[in-house]
C-alpha cells in the first residue's frame, strides 16, 4: 500500500515537470480537451437531463403537506444538482468513461513499447502523456459540471411541465429562491479534486501495466474502481471540510 502510494507520488513528480516543448504540450492539451472533455458532453447531457427530471418528480411526489410550498421542487432540484448530483454522480460517470480511456490508452502504449520509445528518445513519458490529460480534465470538467447543473435543472423544469405536477412559475420561483453562491464554489472544488483523481489514478494504473492485453483490460477496470472509491471517499472529506 505504501509502496503503491510512493510510486504514485513519484510518477506525479515526474508528471508535473516543465514540458520539453511548449507548442507540443499545447497541441496535446487541445487533443485531450476534445478526447476527454468535448466527447463527454453527450453522455453528461443525457444523464443530467434525466437526473434533474427524476429529482423534480420524486420531490413533487413526496411533498404531501399543503404547508410546504411547491416552489420547494425547483429549490430541491437546484440544490441536489449543484451539491451532489452534478459534481459527484457525473464525476463517477466520467471515472468510467474517461478513466478507462486513459488507463487503456496509456496501458496499450506501455505494452506496445511506445512509452519505451518516448523514453529512449529522451522525452519524459509521464510528462508528455499524463500532464495534458490531468490539465485538460482539471480545466474542462468544471465546464462539464456547470453544463450538467444547467441541463439538470432544465430537465426538472421539463418534467414538471410535462407531468403537470408543478407549474412553471412555481418551479422557476423555487430555483431562484435562497440561492447561496458558495454552493457553486463547493461544487467546483469537488469537481477539480475529482478530475485530478480520475486522470492521475487512471494515468498511474495505465503507466504501470506490465504484460499484455489482459493486463491492459485489468488496469482499465482497476482505474474505474479505484477512481470511483476515491471520489466517494474525498466527497465525504470535502463535504465535512467545506459545508459543516
Amino acid at each position: 500500500m505504501f509502496r503503491l502510494l510512493g510510486e504514485y507520488l513519484y510518477l506525479m513528480l515526474e508528471t508535473f515537470k516543465r514540458p520539453d516543448k511548449g507548442p507540443v504540450f499545447r497541441r496535446q492539451l487541445l487533443v485531450e480537451f476534445i478526447g476527454l472533455g468535448v466527447d463527454s458532453i453527450g453522455i453528461v447531457a443525457i444523464i443530467s437531463v434525466f437526473t434533474g427530471a427524476i429529482v423534480a418528480i420524486q420531490t413533487a411526489y413526496n411533498i404531501d403537506s399543503p404547508l410546504i410550498p411547491l416552489t420547494m421542487v425547483g429549490f430541491t432540484t437546484r440544490q441536489m444538482m449543484i451539491l451532489e448530483f452534478s459534481p459527484t454522480i457525473i464525476s463517477l460517470i466520467l471515472a468510467g468513461k474517461v478513466g478507462s480511456r486513459i488507463a487503456s490508452e496509456i496501458g496499450t502504449m506501455r505494452v506496445t513499447e511506445q512509452i519505451d520509445a518516448l523514453c529512449v528518445m529522451g522525452v519524459n513519458p509521464a510528462n508528455y502523456l499524463i500532464l495534458p490529460k490531468i490539465t485538460a480534465s482539471i480545466l474542462f470538467n468544471p465546464v462539464l459540471i456547470i453544463f450538467s447543473i444547467v441541463v439538470g435543472i432544465w430537465g426538472g423544469w421539463i418534467a414538471c411541465i410535462v407531468t403537470n405536477l408543478v407549474t412553471s412559475a412555481d418551479y422557476i420561483a423555487g430555483i431562484r429562491s435562497w440561492f447561496e453562491p458558495f454552493t457553486v464554489t463547493y461544487a467546483m472544488i469537488k469537481t477539480v479534486v475529482f478530475a485530478f483523481i480520475i486522470s492521475s489514478v487512471s494515468g498511474f494504473l495505465g503507466y504501470n501495466v506490465d504484460g499484455g492485453s489482459v493486463e491492459v483490460g485489468r488496469a482499465s477496470t482497476k482505474a474505474v474502481v479505484a477512481s470511483s472509491i476515491l471520489i466517494i471517499f474525498f466527497d465525504l472529506i470535502l463535504t465535512q471540510l467545506l459545508l459543516v
Binding site: 516543448k21 511506445q114 523514453c119 528518445m121 529522451g122
Partner: protein
C-alpha cells in the same frame, strides 16, 4: 563507438546477464545473436538505458552513460535512434507525424524544414505517399520502414535495432537488413542489431557477438561464423535445415 564492460543483470533469482563485455564499432553493423532467452533484449535495454545494469559500465564515445544521472542521460539519448521489435509507432499519429516527432521535440526547425526532412527520410526507406496514413493502415514491412525513418530523422549517431526482421517474410526481411546496413555506412552510425535470423547474420554481420545463457560466448564476423569450432554456436547456427545443407 559503444563499449559495454562487465554488464551483469539479475531479475529476482534469475541471472540474465553475467559479466558481459562487448564493443560496437562506428560505421559497422554490430550484431548480437543468441537463442530466445539468452539475454539479448535485456542487454540492449541496458545499453539504451531502459534497464539499469546491476554491475558494469556502458560508454558512448567515452561518455559513461550508465553512470550519468537521468537528466544528463537525456542528452546522449537524443543521439540514439531505436527500432523496436514491433515498430513502436505512435498509433494516434500519422506516419508523417511519427517521423516528425523527434524533430518537434528536439529541434527548432521550421515546419517546412521538418517536412523536407520527413520526406527525405521516408524516401530513404523507399516509402512514398504514406504521409497521411496511420500505423494501423500499414503492413508489417512498411511499419518497420517508418520506424527506421523515425529512428534516423534526427541524424542519430547510434542506431539500435531489436529483432528488425521479426514477423516479416524473407524478402521483406532482406530489404530491411540491406536498408539498415546502407544507412549505417552512409551516415557512419554505430549500429547494434539484436537478431536470431541467420539470413541477417550472413548478410550484414560485420561484427557478431553470440550470447549464450547470459554470457558472451563467441565474437567474430559473417565469414568466421560458419567455420568456428564452438559447439554451442554451431548448435545455434546450424539449427535449421537450410544452414545444415549449407554446411555440407
Amino acid at each position: 563507438m559503444i563499449e559495454a564492460r562487465n554488464i551483469s543483470k539479475t531479475f529476482g533469482e534469475n541471472l540474465v546477464l553475467r559479466d558481459v563485455s562487448m564493443s560496437f564499432e562506428k560505421g559497422k553493423t554490430n550484431l548480437i545473436i543468441g537463442q530466445s532467452g539468452s539475454g539479448k533484449t535485456v542487454f540492449m535495454k541496458c545499453c539504451i538505458g531502459l534497464v539499469e545494469p546491476d554491475e558494469g559500465m556502458i560508454r558512448f564515445d567515452d561518455r559513461p552513460f550508465s553512470a550519468l544521472p537521468e537528466k544528463r542521460k537525456k542528452y546522449i539519448r537524443k543521439e540514439m535512434g531505436v527500432l523496436f521489435q514491433g515498430g513502436a509507432l505512435f498509433d494516434s499519429l500519422t506516419v508523417e507525424q511519427n517521423v516528425m516527432f523527434p524533430l518537434n521535440m528536439f529541434t527548432t526547425m521550421s515546419l517546412e524544414e521538418k517536412l523536407d526532412r520527413v520526406n527525405f527520410c521516408l524516401n530513404r526507406v523507399n516509402l512514398e505517399n504514406v504521409n497521411t496514413l496511420f500505423p494501423s493502415e500499414l503492413s508489417g514491412g512498411m511499419m518497420k520502414r517508418v520506424a527506421i525513418a523515425r529512428a534516423i530523422s534526427n541524424n542519430p549517431s547510434y542506431l539500435f535495432c531489436d529483432e528488425p526482421n521479426s514477423g516479416l517474410d524473407p524478402k521483406t526481411a532482406e530489404i530491411i537488413d540491406r536498408l539498415i546496413s546502407e544507412i549505417t555506412e552512409e551516415y557512419d552510425i554505430t549500429t547494434v542489431i539484436n537478431t536470431h535470423d541467420m539470413n541477417s547474420v550472413l548478410q550484414i554481420g560485420m561484427r557478431i557477438n553470440f550470447l549464450y545463457k547470459g554470457e558472451l560466448w563467441w565474437t567474430g564476423d559473417k565469414n568466421t561464423i560458419l567455420i568456428t569450432e564452438n559447439a554451442e554456436l554451431n548448435d545455434f547456427v546450424f539449427s535449421t535445415e537450410l544452414t545444415r545443407r549449407l554446411r555440407h
